[in-house]
Symmetry: C2
Subunit: 135 residues, 2 copies
């Protein structure tokens, strides 16, 4: 087991992807008018790529287009003070080709929020890292 400088277990990239695949909610981190911004989203993994479904015209759709974003998911148990977190960093882009949009729309990704969500943001992690707290 590899530990980082603060004593947390360092997770291997494959384990990070397995953990991402195990949870339906993550948080996309981006810059909005020069300020740090973060928004929870439901997402799915599609062959290692993070797929987010959002409303066209949303702040997220505008801000996360063709820029570097971070994506984070975690699970913590306050009772045992254990848990894990995974962070991926990479370029986000909006899906624009009809064939790709059709394929993404068939993924098991149902938006939790009401209203139309026909806009897809995809991000292929260029860096991925994860940590686990065990006691």
């Amino acid at each position: 087991m590899k530990l980082d400088a603060t004593g947390l277990e360092i997770l291997a990239p494959e384990e990070c992807l397995d953990l991402l695949a195990s949870t339906p909610i993550g948080r996309i981190v981006f810059t909005d008018r020069a300020l740090p911004a973060v928004q929870p989203v439901n997402f799915c993994l599609d062959d290692g790529t993070i797929v987010i479904r959002t409303a066209i015209g949303s702040k997220l759709a505008a801000a996360a287009r063709n820029t570097v974003v971070a994506f984070e998911a975690d699970e913590f148990d306050p009772a045992t003070r254990t848990g894990w977190s995974v962070t991926a960093v990479g370029h986000a882009r909006a899906a624009s080709e009809p064939a790709e949009i059709e394929r993404l729309a068939a993924l098991p990704l149902t938006p939790w929020a009401p209203g139309s969500h026909d806009h897809f943001i995809v991000m292929t992690p260029e860096q991925i890292s994860g940590r686990r707290i065990n006691r």
Copy 2:
């Protein structure tokens, strides 16, 4: 009930603070070497100020010093697809006065991670916003 453009309920600032006070884990969002970065932390609220306890020399301690950060907490229930999120934005600073450090060290804030965590980052929200998903 006020709804935003995507149909989510807009939470009032007082409710946002009450929700922040109800959870021990949040995520601090900052910039690390010009890239978006995010790190889960345990925290507490001290009279409306977010207090994070970290290790001196940590990436977080270095990156979140005298800069604008975002801080996010949320709770979602995948079974019912309901939940809330709150995001605060403001200037973070490291506590440096011995009297302040002594006071912060007495807060009910025990780090989950192992090792020494004698460094405090405080952030007073300048903007706070929250959303709730109900079905």
